[in-house]
Symmetry: C2
Subunit: 296 residues, 2 copies
DNA sequence: GCCAATCTCTGACTAGAGTCAGAGGTTATG
DNA sequence: CATAACCTCTGACTCTAGTCAGAGATTGGC
């Protein structure tokens, strides 16, 4: 790996210190709502559309008993209603009551006011600088902390990612790719022991995917490379590619191939940067025009 | 005031959310130390050189009883020694023991490792982008959250600030300005009811200062404008100037004057941007070559 | 149709963070 | 030199956050 500069970690740590001391106080806007922070966070998530208790727990990474108790409190304050999910009666759904919605709006407004208050002392130009810096830092911090995890091609997150991938191909080439067919195909070849499907998940949402499978003795092929449009430029593609190569090695392969097409210029640039070299057509994929190979 | 863009607060809030969820975990490095976060923070501050219990309390903004208890715990773990301050025996001093220093080093190292771990997935170029963005954000966030507060010219913070101001003049012009004399003069004219002395304090340290005093019927004069070199470019100077003008108005003045010299180009630019216009020499300050005035 | 797995809930805890009221010694001030 | 102001400490609390063990209802897989 590349060495990490001490100055860089120092900047991060310095920022962390000043930030938690100052803006960390933004969290207190939750406190201004008169309920404990944990409870307010739960209410907030419900307001943003999380409608299953299990999803809530996964999102906030909390103990089930703890969440249950907080929901009970919110219920007795008449801010949410919890009901049985008719589809699976073990599960429970949550929703804001009208009073809960009001409270949510109030939290939202107060949080916005605090953010505005923080920026208030700055001149318009400085605000723009701060906003730009935070936007950049946000993208990179998020990108650095997504985890690439192997999932089954039929896992909901994989299905969503492939759906987005196919949508994009259709938007760009309008040639009628079919997401359901893609998933059916993937289910055959892109799972152990012949292949691996990886998704990059951030806040529970898939933001990138990629897969690899063995197509011949010692030869692997990379498929389904996709990065969400808002996440490009943060190095997610190359990270995914690197991980897929590791997976190929683990499958026992020493050569990696892939097909793509010239119009996907970001992808092509990514592959070439990563050391892939053009080769002759090695399959009969009618949608592909360019073929690449790399020896591991 | 200027309107604050909703998009800008949205960026700030989005950043805040992703940040506290991800890097906020940097704080856990304190937790890895086996002691509660509060206690670890206290130990950390002592290690950075805070040597008075009172300073510690002010710095972390904690209840005196609470700090006392944490110190007791650190003492019983043989990490710090608390002793009476001989100069003022109500006060107590704190220092790390050798064991405490070891522990501090360990916390420091682990915190650095975590920061490095966060950056590890990023490519060198992305790391540079992240570092630059955080550096910029840090400066602006700090600048936005300093508070400008009126203090007595003999307040230690004012004395330190004036000292830095005089040092800088001496470095740039080497004409033997004298800090002690400056403070003596300020103590006469730059305190209520005739004048006001403002310091910008960040983390307990003065990072900018400025003062205003009435020098004639309806006429105020601005003095001691200084911004710490590492804090320039964050709008602290114009904020200070604006506040001083408000103070002048409060003193009942409607015209503000000031003197400076052409070599102080940043200062001159600041004044001109703020609407100050050159006027004839209005005093006999031998160190000044330029004179400005603004009607409020 | 049984058994294991899943989801949610309750009860019983622990530990950390922080507040408040005063006691006791010490120093500035008129 | 009395008195107010100051600094630190102890005791007695409150509130949150979070954990753990199981009970009860429900569902999926063989």
């Amino acid at each position: 790996m590349h060495e990490i500069d001490d100055d860089q970690t120092a900047v991060l740590r310095r920022f962390n210190r000043s930030y938690t001391q100052r803006i960390g106080a933004l969290d207190d806007s939750f406190l201004g709502s008169g309920m404990p922070l944990g409870t307010a966070r739960v209410l907030y998530e419900i307001g943003t559309g999380v409608d299953m208790v299990a999803a809530l727990r996964a999102r906030l990474d909390l103990d089930s008993g703890y969440v249950s108790r907080m929901l009970r409190r919110l219920e007795s304050d008449d801010l949410v209603v919890v009901a049985q999910d008719p589809a699976d009666r073990r599960r429970r759904t949550v929703a804001l009551t009208s009073g809960g919605q009001e409270r949510w709006d109030a939290i939202e407004a107060s949080s916005g006011r605090r953010a505005a208050g923080l920026m208030e002392p700055l001149s318009p130009r400085q605000r723009e600088r701060l906003t730009a810096a935070l936007r950049e830092a946000d993208l990179l911090v998020r990108a650095a902390t997504v985890d690439l995890r192997p999932v089954d091609p039929e896992d909901p997150r994989a299905v969503v990612a492939v759906g987005a991938y196919v949508d994009e191909l259709n938007r760009r080439f309008s040639e009628g790719f079919d997401a359901a067919r893609a998933t059916r195909e993937d289910a055959v070849s892109l799972r152990p022991p012949r292949g691996v499907f990886l998704v990059a998940v951030s806040d529970g949402d898939p933001v990138a995917c990629g897969a690899v499978r063995t197509i011949g003795p010692g030869v692997a092929e990379i498929k389904r490379m996709w990065v969400d449009a808002t996440w490009r430029g943060a190095g997610l593609g190359s990270r995914m590619l690197r991980r897929l190569e590791e997976e190929a090695a683990r499958l026992g392969d020493s050569v990696v191939r892939l097909d793509t097409r010239g119009e996907l210029s970001e992808a092509v640039a990514l592959y070439e940067r990563a050391g892939y070299r053009p080769v002759e057509r090695y399959n009969d994929n009618p949608d592909a025009g360019l073929f690449y190979e790399k020896a591991l």
